[in-house]
């Protein structure tokens, strides 16, 4: 685990005397940068200090201080802890310069901060709402914005006990539904802003041109939100010249379930099962990241055995996720069903272990602050050992044999969707996407958490930067995960799995923390701010699929529309985490 203070190893305050100051609030770390100096300081952070990967940009509404704070977490792709810096802006007029030109990976996250918190980023190329629709009333993550089914600031709600007469939430709302409108709102008189208009305007200009004496038009194609190859309710608006993509905009938010807002109402523990539902293939790694973030704040040690169980569960999750990736990716390429069916067969066996240990196939809700919920019994360990030592290696090889050399597949993916290492870093790619571009950056190695520093494994990495590399990286990674699993299952010690007695109300000291894990899809991180109360003051998820989409347009331009589907499949997005 990294100490939050280690980012102070670089004294930014000395580099910019008088402008930048260290953040001295108890429990906080990093530096506070004035808005007007942000561009200069950020450039220095990237170029002089080498923090080339901007992981997260998010806002916090400190309503008591009448301030909005934008928090940046930057990392070095060579490894090491986070460099945290913040910008504070007044709440009434939250404007600051955008860092998109320094780290393009900030693009979507800044849009999200605008959408949910109403923070304006000057110089952002395309500052529209991203998760909600254009025309939605208010910025929901502001502390004074109340959702229609608002009951109380924080849970537990008083109406549940001791006089918990059941009432439907609808009854309490004047509109008898999950709705709220401004006073004297008259739907018949108002003309609505068309949510699509701004979107279409942001595309490269729709125009006709003459080529060889023939007038041609570009074609606008809407893919999704209901489309079999978008892995859920993702939508992309594509501008085509014939069959070639000339411009593309991803549209998200069709599964925006308000994790952040609900998370701030919940108690710390209550967020745990909600994290399951982010990346619903990998509930174990989701739990892991959140547990790490809160444990950092609480400063507790995890017992040895629990750590091993955590690693075993995460790596099984990774294998299971990559298997599904292969199946779905091949599905996108037109190899309908067979690879997916094979993948699901192995996945079921892994889910059986989850079900036996954690009680559910998908929504495991297995991690607790300080340990895990239940011990992994002998039977489950035996099953895991059998799978890891006897079955899965052969099955991974079988998948490899089934697909990798297939000439049709190779000609379909080789050289498609190229992304160079520099671009990948600039757009904040993480996970297999980044490693397939030749950057061996894996959080398990670069900034080891839990007990990953004890295991011997290689960081799967391919230099080609195309779809084939992305596919191969996943296969390599499954093999590496099996290596880790083999070691963990041999070494797992006996002992407690939880320090002390399980508590449903945890005491979390005030402060901020950033817990990140290498989820199968990339860097999944949680930014948690506590003010010492039983509920997090700010709970933010830094989703991997969401940020990984930043480079989608770049990868698709110049490719055929049919390849767009493959490129999207190669990113391995999952909507629960993308939209939250």
């Amino acid at each position: 685990m990294t100490a939050p203070a280690s980012s102070l190893t670089i004294d930014l305050a000395a580099r910019f005397p008088g402008a930048v100051s260290a953040d001295v609030r108890p429990g906080y770390g990093g530096f506070i940068v004035p808005a007007e100096k942000l561009i200069e300081v950020a450039t220095a952070i990237r170029d002089e200090f080498g923090y080339d990967l901007l992981s997260a940009v998010t806002g916090v509404d400190y309503i008591a201080d009448n301030k909005m704070e934008v928090v940046y977490h930057a990392f070095k792709t060579t490894g090491g802890p986070a460099f945290v810096f913040k910008v504070q802006v007044p709440r009434e007029n939250p404007v600051l310069p955008s860092v998109v030109n320094i780290w393009r990976g900030a693009e979507f996250q800044e849009r999200e901060a605008w959408d949910l918190l109403g923070i304006k980023f000057e110089g952002h190329p395309d500052l529209r709402r991203i998760l909600m629709w254009e025309g939605f009333e208010g910025h929901p993550l502001r502390k004074d914005w109340k959702e229609p089914f608002f009951e109380e600031e924080v849970k537990p709600f008083k109406s549940r006990w001791p006089d918990g007469k059941h009432t439907f939430a609808e009854v309490k709302n004047p509109f008898r539904d999950n709705l709220q409108f401004p006073a004297d709102f008259d739907p018949e008189k108002v003309t609505f802003t068309d949510p699509e208009e701004a979107l279409y305007k942001s595309l490269k200009k729709y125009h006709s041109e003459t080529r060889d004496g023939i007038e041609t038009d570009h074609i606008l194609v809407n893919m999704g939100p209901q489309h079999p190859s978008t892995h859920g309710v993702f939508r992309a608006v594509v501008m085509l010249d014939g069959e070639t993509v000339v411009s593309l905009k991803p549209v998200m938010g069709y599964l925006h379930r308000n994790h952040d807002k609900i998370g701030e109402r919940n108690t710390f523990l209550q967020n745990m099962p909600y994290t399951d539902r982010l990346d619903y293939f990998c509930s174990m790694t989701n739990n892991f990241g959140y547990a790490l973030a809160v444990e950092k704040l609480m400063n507790i040690q995890v017992p040895e055995r629990a750590d091993y169980i955590r690693v075993i569960m995460s790596e099984l999750t990774r294998i299971q996720n990559h298997l599904i990736f292969l199946g779905m990716f091949l599905n996108d390429l037109g190899a309908m069903y067979t690879p997916a069916l094979y993948a699901f067969e192995e996945r079921e066996l892994i889910l059986d272990i989850f079900e036996e240990v954690a009680g559910a196939r998908m929504m495991c809700n297995y991690f607790r602050f300080g340990g895990v919920a239940r011990d992994m019994g002998e039977d489950a360990l035996r099953k895991a050992r059998e799978l890891v030592f006897d079955r899965l290696p052969g099955k991974v090889d079988e998948m490899d044999r089934l697909l990798t050399e297939n000439e049709v597949l190779v000609s379909r993916v080789k050289g498609i969707g190229y992304l160079s290492a520099e671009d990948a870093i600039r757009t904040s790619m993480t996970g297999p996407m980044l490693r397939a571009s030749g950057v061996p950056y894996d959080i398990r190695r670069a900034d080891p958490y839990s007990i990953y520093d004890r295991f011997d494994f290689n960081v799967a990495c391919r230099p080609e930067g195309d779809l084939l590399a992305r596919y191969m990286v996943r296969i390599d990674e499954m093999r590496e995960s099996l290596k880790i699993l083999g070691q963990a299952l041999k070494q797992i010690p006996a002992g407690p799995i939880f320090p002390g007695k399980p508590q449903y109300q945890v005491k979390v000291p005030a402060g901020e923390s950033y817990g990140r894990v290498e989820s199968p899809k990339g860097e999944l991180a949680y930014y948690v701010v506590s003010n010492g109360k039983p509920n997090p003051y700010r709970y933010h998820v830094r989703p991997s699929s969401f940020v990984n989409l930043t480079s989608l347009e770049q990868m698709c331009i110049g490719e055929k529309i049919a390849d767009f589907v493959a490129i999207l499949g190669g990113i391995d997005i999952v909507l629960g985490e993308l939209d939250r």
């Binding site: 849970k155 537990p156 709600f157 109406s159 549940r160 006990w161 001791p162 006089d163 918990g164 007469k165 059941h166 919940n266 108690t267 523990l269 209550q270 967020n271 745990m272 099962p273 909600y274 539902r277 067979t338 069916l341 094979y342 067969e345 079921e348 066996l349 059986d352 079900e355 036996e356 240990v357 954690a358 009680g359 559910a360 929504m363 809700n365 919920a373 239940r374 099953k383 059998e386 799978l387 006897d390 079955r391 079988e398 044999r401 089934l402 697909l403 990798t404 050399e405 297939n406 000439e407 049709v408 597949l409 190779v410 399980p502 449903y504």
Partner: protein, 208 residues
């Protein structure tokens, strides 16, 4: 050679295909000779969801069902001990911890009052769980100090209407609980007995 990769892949699919039917044949033969080791028997299902499974395996739900492990959780239910003459001794004391810990806040509890005195008594007056909000997280049963609310194994609860469970629907006997979670129930009983014994010993010591 162009096409080698495709042939290699086809060999994999062929082996899968062969294995599936070969396994079926083996199980059919066993069934003929021993009469009981049916493909869909508990043994057959266990074998075919182990590492030794070969080929494709399908559970013929609803005729045969995949057994769920002990820890499996679905919707919670309330446990009652069967007292004399079928009296239901509800374990719940309406302490409210489950309602407080429930993440989507889908538990509603009315604290019971004694009809004679009007004072609160350790029994729920009413208990609701909105099964269409419940996220099956298991916190309620994990943190209930009285082993009174437990996660059910019954998943065959599809209905034609929205599901709001009241106390009547939620109550299930302790014997049912012991049936679905024998190891947990035994452990908890043990702990409860130990606690009671300790209490009794303490009371004795105080009396002496």
């Amino acid at each position: 050679m162009y096409g080698k990769g495709i042939l290699k892949g086809l060999s994999v699919t062929f082996m899968r295909f062969w294995n599936t039917y070969w396994q079926d044949a083996i199980w059919a033969w066993r069934r003929l000779t021993t009469g009981k080791k049916h493909y869909g028997s508990a043994e057959g299902i266990a074998h075919r969801s182990s590492k030794n499974a070969r080929g494709i395996f399908t559970v013929q739900y609803p005729e045969e069902k995949l057994p769920v492990p002990e820890e499996f959780r679905y919707i919670p239910f309330l446990v009652f001990d069967e007292g004399a003459e079928g009296a239901k001794e509800i374990r719940c004391t309406s302490c409210g911890i489950c309602a407080k810990v429930c993440p989507p806040q889908c538990i509603w509890i009315v604290r019971g009052t004694d009809p004679a005195t009007g004072r609160p008594r350790p029994q729920p007056g009413d208990f609701f769980i909105d099964a269409d909000i419940c996220m099956n997280c298991g916190f309620c049963s994990e943190y209930c100090p009285f082993d009174a609310i437990k996660m059910d194994h019954d998943y065959e609860i599809a209905s034609y209407t929205r599901n709001l469970y009241d106390m009547e629907k939620l109550l299930k006997p302790a014997s049912y609980y012991e049936g679905i979670r024998p190891a947990n129930a035994a452990r908890e009983d043990e702990a409860r007995r130990a606690k009671e014994a300790a209490k009794a010993a303490k009371a004795e010591a105080a009396a002496a």
